[in-house]
C-alpha cells in the first residue's frame, strides 16, 4: 500500500465539501465526504494507542524488560493507529458523489472501484443518522433507500460521513422533485396537493409515559435472560472454578427451597424490564413525526444516536398496525409504514426496523397516527373487519391437535427415560418407577399433551380471531396473527397483482389464501383461509377489472348483486371454461 494518503486535501479548507453550493445539481460538481472522518479515526485510535503504549512502556520497564520491547510496543501502537487511518483516508480520498440533474452518482472503492448512478426519482427514503461520536464533529451519516432495494435486502446506498448541514441539504435535495418531473406514482396516490409550500406539520410527538410500555414487551424477558448470562460471564472473569462453585451453590439453594426461584425470576424480569425501557428510551427519545411541506414524512428519534428518516409520501402504499400480546393487554399498538423501497430490516445495530413509524403507543393514538400518516380522517386500520369462515378455525384447531399428538408421542417416547431417571432417585419416587411400562408411556403421553395442548389450543383460537379482512374505498385491510396481531391497510392502487393459492386441505374446505402483491414492504400481503368465493370477490372489488375478467359469475349472483351472496363456498375449476 502506498504511503499515507491523508495529507493532500485532508487539512485544506478548500476541499469541495466546504465549497459553496453554487454548481450543485449541475455539471461537474463532484463532492467529497467530510475529511473529518479521517481525523476522527486518527484521534479515536490515538486516544487508545497513546495511553496504551505509555502504560505498556511503564510496565515493561518496571518488569525489567529491555528497550527493545518498548520500541516494539510503540511501533505496534503507531501501526495500529496509522494503518486503519490510512485505509479510512484512502477510502475518503477515493469517494466522490454528486447530484447531477436527475441522478445521484457515487464513485467509491479502494481495491474494487465502483460507480453507482441512481435516478433521483427512484430514491424512496433518506435516513440521516448522527451516532454519538459524530455529534461533536458536526457530522452525520446518510443511508438512501431506492426502489430496487424493495425485497432484495442489502443494496442500500450509504454516505458516511458528511457535514450536518450538507446532510440536511442532501436529504431535501434527494427527495424534492423538480416541479416539471412527471409524477411516477399511479394516479390518485399519496401526495396529491400536499407538496405545496408551507411549514412542517407535527403529527405526533413522544410522551415519556409511552416508554412505560417497554417493560411489558417481549424484549423484557429476553433481556433479563441476557442479563443473567452476562452476570455469569462477569463471574467467570474471577476464575472458572469460582464461577462453577457459585452456580453450584445457587443450584443447591434452589433445590432445597424451590420457592427461592420466584424472587430470582422476578429479579431477572425486573432487570430485563429496566433494560428494555433503557433500549426503548435510547431508540425513541425525542420521537416526532412531521409532514414536511415538500411531501415527505419525517421521523426523528434517538437519544445517543439521533436518527431522522424521510419518507416520500408518494411512495407510501399504506400503513400497518402491530399489536403484540403483552402490549394488547395494556392497550398498546405500534405503527409501521408500508412503502416502496423501505424494507423492514433495521439499520446496523439499530433495534428499530426501518419502517417503524412509532414506538408502543396507546391504541387510540396509534390509530390516529396511522390515519394522519395516510392522510385520512379515520384510520383504515380501525375499520370493522369481516371474520373468516369456521373452516379456518377448524384448520387451526386441527393443526393444534396435530401438534399436541406429536407432543404426546414424544412424551410417550420419553416416558421410559423418565422411568429410568425416577429409578435413580430416593426411595419415595422408586415406587413410581416400578409401575409398568404401559402406565409410564400413558403418563408420558398425557404429560406431553397437557404441556403443549392448552397453549396450542389457545393459539388456534387466537389465530382464528386474528383473521379478518375488508375492502374500504381506497384500501384493502387484512389482519392476521395470534401472538403479534398485524393489521395492514394497503392502498388499493398499490396492488400490482394477485395470487390465489390453495392447498389440498384448503380445497377440501372450500378455502383459499388470497395474496395481494405489491412493490411495498415485504412485497405481499395475504388474506389467509378466506372462503374462495369471498376471496375472489374481495380481489375483484379491490382492483376492479384485473381479476374480474377471469371470473365466471353464476347466474344467481348477477341478479342478487355482489354483496348479497354470503356463503362464500366456491371452486376453482381446472377443467375447460364451460366444463363445470
Amino acid at each position: 500500500m502506498s504511503a499515507h494518503a491523508p495529507v493532500p486535501g485532508a487539512d485544506t479548507d478548500s476541499a469541495p465539501d466546504s465549497a459553496p453550493d453554487s454548481d450543485f445539481g449541475s455539471g461537474s460538481g463532484w463532492r467529497r465526504l467530510s475529511p473529518l472522518t479521517v481525523w476522527a479515526w486518527a484521534l479515536g485510535l490515538g486516544a487508545v494507542a497513546v495511553p496504551g503504549s505509555a502504560a505498556g512502556t511503564v510496565l515493561v520497564r518496571l518488569g525489567g524488560g529491555s528497550w527493545l520491547w518498548v520500541a516494539l510496543i510503540v511501533l505496534g501502537a503507531a501501526a495500529g493507529t496509522a494503518l486503519p487511518t490510512a485505509v479510512a483516508a484512502l477510502r475518503w480520498s477515493r469517494t466522490r458523489y454528486r447530484i447531477s440533474g436527475r441522478r445521484l452518482e457515487i464513485r467509491t472503492g479502494v481495491a474494487a472501484v465502483s460507480y453507482r448512478s441512481v435516478p433521483r426519482e427512484r430514491i424512496r427514503s433518506v435516513d440521516v443518522a448522527v451516532p454519538l461520536w459524530m455529534r461533536p464533529l458536526g457530522l452525520c451519516a446518510l443511508s438512501i433507500g431506492t426502489a430496487e432495494q424493495a425485497g432484495s435486502g442489502g443494496a442500500q446506498i450509504r454516505l458516511s460521513a458528511v457535514r450536518r448541514d450538507e446532510g440536511e441539504r442532501l436529504r431535501a435535495r434527494l427527495l424534492l422533485r423538480d416541479p416539471a418531473d412527471p409524477a411516477q406514482a399511479p394516479a390518485g396516490s399519496a401526495g396529491d396537493g400536499r407538496s405545496g409550500a408551507g411549514t412542517a406539520r407535527e403529527l405526533v410527538r413522544l410522551r415519556p409515559v409511552w416508554l412505560g410500555y417497554a417493560p411489558v414487551s417481549a424484549a423484557a424477558p429476553a433481556l433479563g435472560a441476557a442479563a443473567v448470562g452476562a452476570a455469569f460471564n462477569v463471574l467467570s472473569l474471577a476464575g472458572r472454578d469460582r464461577a462453577d462453585a457459585a452456580v453450584a451453590a445457587v443450584y443447591g439453594q434452589v433445590l432445597d427451597r424451590p420457592l427461592l426461584l420466584l424472587p430470582g425470576v422476578a429479579a431477572a424480569l425486573l432487570v430485563g424490564a429496566a433494560a428494555a425501557a433503557a433500549v426503548q428510551a435510547e431508540a425513541w427519545w425525542g420521537y416526532r413525526v412531521d409532514r414536511e411541506p415538500d411531501g415527505t414524512l419525517r421521523l426523528q428519534r434517538g437519544l445517543v444516536t439521533t436518527t431522522s428518516l424521510s419518507l416520500e409520501e408518494r411512495r407510501l402504499r399504506g400503513v400497518e398496525l402491530r399489536r403484540a400480546l403483552p402490549q394488547r393487554w395494556f392497550g398498546a399498538a405500534r405503527v409501521r409504514a408500508v412503502a416502496t423501497g423501505l424494507a423492514a430490516e433495521g439499520g446496523r445495530g439499530d433495534p428499530v426496523p426501518r419502517n417503524a413509524l412509532s414506538p408502543d403507543l396507546p391504541h387510540r393514538r396509534a390509530l390516529a397516527l396511522s390515519a394522519a400518516v395516510v392522510g385520512e380522517s379515520e384510520s383504515p386500520a380501525a375499520a370493522p373487519l369481516r371474520s373468516h369462515p369456521r373452516a379456518a378455525l377448524r384448520r387451526r384447531v386441527v393443526r393444534a391437535l396435530a401438534g399436541t399428538a406429536v407432543a404426546a408421542a414424544a412424551g410417550a417416547g420419553l416416558a421410559p427415560a423418565a422411568q429410568w431417571a425416577l429409578a435413580q432417585t430416593p426411595a419415595g419416587m422408586r415406587a413410581l418407577a416400578e409401575a409398568d411400562t404401559a402406565t409410564a408411556l400413558a403418563a408420558g403421553a398425557s404429560a406431553g399433551a397437557l404441556a403443549v395442548g392448552p397453549p396450542l389450543a389457545g393459539w388456534a383460537v387466537s389465530a382464528y380471531r386474528g383473521l379478518g379482512h375488508t375492502v374500504l374505498p381506497g384500501y384493502l385491510v387484512t389482519r392476521t396473527g395470534a401472538f403479534v396481531r398485524t393489521t395492514v391497510a394497503l392502498r388499493r392502487e398499490g396492488i400490482i397483482g394477485w395470487r390465489i393459492s390453495r392447498s389440498p386441505f384448503q380445497r377440501r374446505a372450500g378455502l383459499a389464501t388470497v395474496t395481494a402483491t405489491t412493490a411495498a414492504g415485504p412485497g405481499r400481503f395475504s388474506v389467509p383461509d378466506v372462503a374462495l368465493g369471498t376471496g375472489l370477490r374481495l380481489a375483484d372489488a379491490s382492483v376492479p377489472g384485473l381479476l374480474g375478467r377471469f371470473l365466471v359469475r353464476p347466474a344467481a349472483e348477477r341478479f342478487t348483486g355482489v354483496g348479497a351472496a354470503g356463503s362464500g363456498r366456491g371452486a376453482v375449476s381446472a377443467g375447460p371454461p364451460n366444463g363445470r
Binding site: 426519482e121 393459492s501 368465493g533
Partner: protein
C-alpha cells in the same frame, strides 16, 4: 377436475385459456426420472461399495438396498402421476390487460398481474427443456413476492408471448410500482 363444493352464489375463477405444451408432460417425467435415478443410485452404489469395505453390519447393507428401492419406487410413481396432474392444472393466458397463470398440482396457485405493472420479461430454456423444445416465460413485477412464470410452453410460442408482453410493458408508463 371440477370441484363439487361450489355454491351457486360464489364466483368462480375460470382457468386460463391455454394449456402448456403436451411435450411438457414428457419433460416433467424426464426431470423426475433424472432426479429419481440420482436419488436411487446413491444408496444403490453405497450398497455395492459397503460390503467391500470389510465387515459391515448386515442391517446396513439391507437398509441401503431398501432405501434405493424405495427411492426408485417413489420416483417412478411420481413420474407416472405428477406430470399428468401438472398438465391438467397448468395453464396460461396473456389477455390484453393482464397475464394470468395457473400452476401446481397438490398446492395449486393462480397468479394475475396487470400488463401495466410488468417490469421485465425473460424467456428461459434449461438443457432438458431444449431437448424437448420447450421454454419458460418469466414475468417480473416490482413486487418481491416472486415472478409469474409460464412454464413449459413451446419455444416459438414462448417467443411470441414474450414479445407481446414486452410490447405491453413498454407501452405502459411509470415505474410500475
Amino acid at each position: 377436475m371440477t370441484l363439487t363444493r361450489s355454491a351457486p352464489s360464489a364466483p368462480v375463477l375460470r382457468p386460463p385459456r391455454h394449456r402448456v405444451a403436451r411435450r411438457a408432460v414428457a419433460w416433467w417425467s424426464a426431470r423426475i426420472l433424472t432426479l429419481t435415478a440420482a436419488g436411487a443410485a446413491t444408496p444403490a452404489l453405497a450398497a455395492l461399495i459397503v460390503p467391500a469395505t470389510g465387515n459391515p453390519p448386515p442391517v446396513l447393507a439391507a437398509a441401503l438396498v431398501w432405501a434405493a428401492a424405495a427411492a426408485g419406487a417413489a420416483g417412478l410413481a411420481a413420474a407416472a402421476v405428477v406430470p399428468l396432474w401438472r398438465f391438467r392444472v397448468h395453464r396460461w393466458e396473456v389477455a390484453d390487460t393482464a397475464v394470468y397463470t395457473a400452476s401446481g398440482w397438490l398446492w395449486q396457485e393462480w397468479r394475475v398481474a396487470p400488463m401495466s405493472r410488468i417490469q421485465t420479461v425473460d424467456t428461459h430454456r434449461g438443457p432438458l427443456q431444449r431437448l424437448f423444445g420447450l421454454a419458460d416465460v418469466v414475468v417480473t413485477t416490482a413486487s418481491a413476492a416472486g415472478p409469474i412464470s409460464i412454464v413449459g410452453i413451446g419455444a416459438a410460442q414462448a417467443e411470441r408471448a414474450a414479445a407481446e408482453l414486452t410490447e405491453a410493458a413498454r407501452v405502459s408508463e411509470g415505474d410500475a410500482t
